[in-house]
Symmetry: C2
C-alpha cells in the first residue's frame, strides 16, 4: 500500500509525539520537525508508509541520541499484557471456539500502538473486540490453511501485543517462527520484547533483518527471505505489516484493527474495524 497524502501531516504528529517522549527542549523538537520537513521533500512519496516512517524515526533518534524512545513504554505494555495473560488464557480455554477467541484476542492486542495514537484503553478494547463483527472475515479459509500447514510464519507487530500473539500461537498447535524487527522502531517488537513476552516458549523467534515499522521485503535479510518464501502459512499482524505487504502476490492472512483512515480506506472498511483477511480477497 502506497503512502497517502494524509500520511504527510501524520508523520509530523508522530514526530512531535515521539520527540516529546525523549526531550522537553522545544528548540530541539523544532529542529527535528524541520529536518522531517526537509526529508519529506527529498524522499519519494510513492512508497509504503513504513519506508518513510523509518527515516522520520531515525531523525528523532539521531537528533536526541535516544535509539529506542519507546523502551519504557514497551516494557510497561508487556508487563501489563503479561498480568492479563492468565485471565485471557482461561477465557480462551472456556470458550466454545477457542481458535476464534484467540484470534480476536490477538487483534485486541493490536490496539497497543504508538504509531497511530497513544491513547487506548486496553481492557475496554478487549471487551469490545471480543464481541465485534469482523469487517472482513476469512476465518474459514484460515482454518483450512492452518489444517494443511506444516509450519506458520508469524509477523509480529507491537511490544505487548506479543503476549496476545502467544495465546493464538498456543491454539494453533503448529511449529511457529515468530518474526520481529531487527532494531527498535516505534513500539514494534524486537527479539528482546518477544523474549520478555515469553514467545520463546511457544515459537522460534527470528528477525526479519529490517528495521522499518512494517516488514518491507526489500530491506529484509536473505536468511529471512528464504524463510518467508518457504513458509506454508503467513500471518501478518498490524497496520505496519499490512502497509508493507498488502501488494504481495502470495497468500498472507492479515490480522489487524484498522486504526487510521488511510489503511481503512485501502481495506475498504470503516476505521476501527477488525479484520482477518487473506490477500487477494480484499
Amino acid at each position: 500500500m502506497r503512502a497517502s497524502l494524509d500520511c504527510y501531516p501524520c508523520f509530523f504528529i508522530q514526530t512531535l509525539r515521539t520527540a516529546r517522549m525523549v526531550t522537553s527542549d522545544e528548540k530541539t523538537i523544532l529542529q527535528i520537525l524541520h529536518e522531517v520537513s526537509t526529508t519529506l521533500q527529498q524522499i519519494p512519496f510513492n512508497v509504503t508508509p513504513p519506508e518513510i516512517g523509518r527515516e522520520v524515526y531515525r531523525i528523532i533518534s539521531r537528533r536526541t541520541g535516544v535509539e529506542d524512545p519507546y523502551k519504557e513504554v514497551k516494557d510497561r505494555c508487556i508487563r501489563e499484557a503479561l498480568s492479563l495473560y492468565p485471565e485471557l488464557k482461561r477465557s480462551v480455554e472456556s470458550s466454545e471456539d477457542r481458535l476464534m477467541t484467540a484470534i480476536r484476542l490477538a487483534i485486541a492486542g493490536n490496539v497497543i500502538d504508538f504509531g497511530t495514537d497513544s491513547s487506548f484503553d486496553l481492557e475496554q478494547e478487549l471487551e469490545t473486540i471480543l464481541s465485534q463483527d469482523f469487517a472482513v472475515d476469512d476465518s474459514q479459509e484460515f482454518r483450512e490453511a492452518l489444517k494443511q500447514a506444516r509450519n506458520v510464519l508469524y509477523l509480529a507487530d507491537n511490544a505487548g501485543e506479543t503476549v496476545f500473539d502467544r495465546l493464538l500461537i498456543e491454539e494453533m498447535d503448529k511449529p511457529v517462527i515468530y518474526v520481529v524487527r531487527e532494531k527498535p522502531i516505534i513500539n514494534d517488537a524486537t527479539r528482546e520484547d518477544a523474549l520478555l513476552s515469553g514467545l520463546d516458549k511457544v515459537s522460534e523467534i527470528t528477525s526479519s533483518g529490517c528495521d522499518t515499522p512494517g516488514t518491507i521485503l526489500k530491506f529484509c535479510s536473505d536468511e529471512f527471505l528464504e524463510t518467508y518464501r518457504s513458509a506454508n502459512l503467513i500471518i501478518s499482524k498490524g497496520q505496519g505489516n499490512y502497509e508493507a505487504l498488502s501488494d504481495e502476490k502470495r497468500p498472507i492472512f492479515f490480522l489487524l484493527k484498522a486504526k487510521c483512515q488511510v489503511v481503512a480506506r485501502d481495506l475498504g472498511v470503516e476505521n476501527g474495524s477488525i479484520i482477518l483477511a487473506k490477500t487477494g480477497k480484499l
Copy 2:
C-alpha cells in the same frame, strides 16, 4: 499567543484540507505540502499562529491560482445561517435574558470554522451552547462596560458566524463598527460576506486592512489602528483573533469556543469550552 509546536502538524492538516477543496491533482497537492515544509523552516515559529497561517494559505492560493478556496463554502454557510435567523431572533426575543442569549448564539456561530475542523453540526451545536456553562464568564463586566460604552468595535471571525453576530449587535443597542478581513483567508469574513449577512443594516462595516486569519495589529492599516485605539469597547470573536490579540494590554472581551488544544491550554480551559473573557483576567 505564540504558536505551539502542536501547530506544526496542524498547518499540514489545514494545507491538505484546503488544497483538496480546490484541486484533486495529487502532484500539485504534494508540491504545496513540500512548499509549506520549506516555509515552516524559514519563518520564525515564535510568532502568533495567524501570522504563520497567512503564509501557508498564500502558498495554496499561489500554487492553485484560486484566491478564495472557501468562496462557495462561505456562501453556503451564510445562506444556512440566514435561514436560521428568524427562528434565532424569536428565541432571543422570547428569552428572559436577551443579551445573554444573543451572546451564546454569537458563540454558537463560532463553530463555523474551517481552520480547525471542517465537520460540525450547526443545529446540534446551537442546542448545546444555549445550555452550556461558560468556562470563563466575565459577562457582568461585559454588561457594565457595554452600559458605559458610546461605541463598540466588533472584530468578526468567520463567514456565516456573521449572521449570529448580527443578533448580538441588535441586542447591544450601540453604534457598532464591524471589522472584517481585507482579503479572503480561510473562511474568515470579508466585506462581501458581511454584506451578504446583512451586517450593513446594524453596523458600519470596515476592514482591518490585514489579511491574516486573526487581527494582527502590525499588519493592520493606520486607519483601522486609529479606530482600534479610540474604541470604547472591543469584542473579539473566535480563535484567530484571540491568538492575535491575547497579549494586548488594553481591555478586550473575547467571545469564542475553544476548538483546539493549543488555544484551550492558553486559556486554561478544556477544549470545547465556551468563553466570554476580558483580557487581563484570564
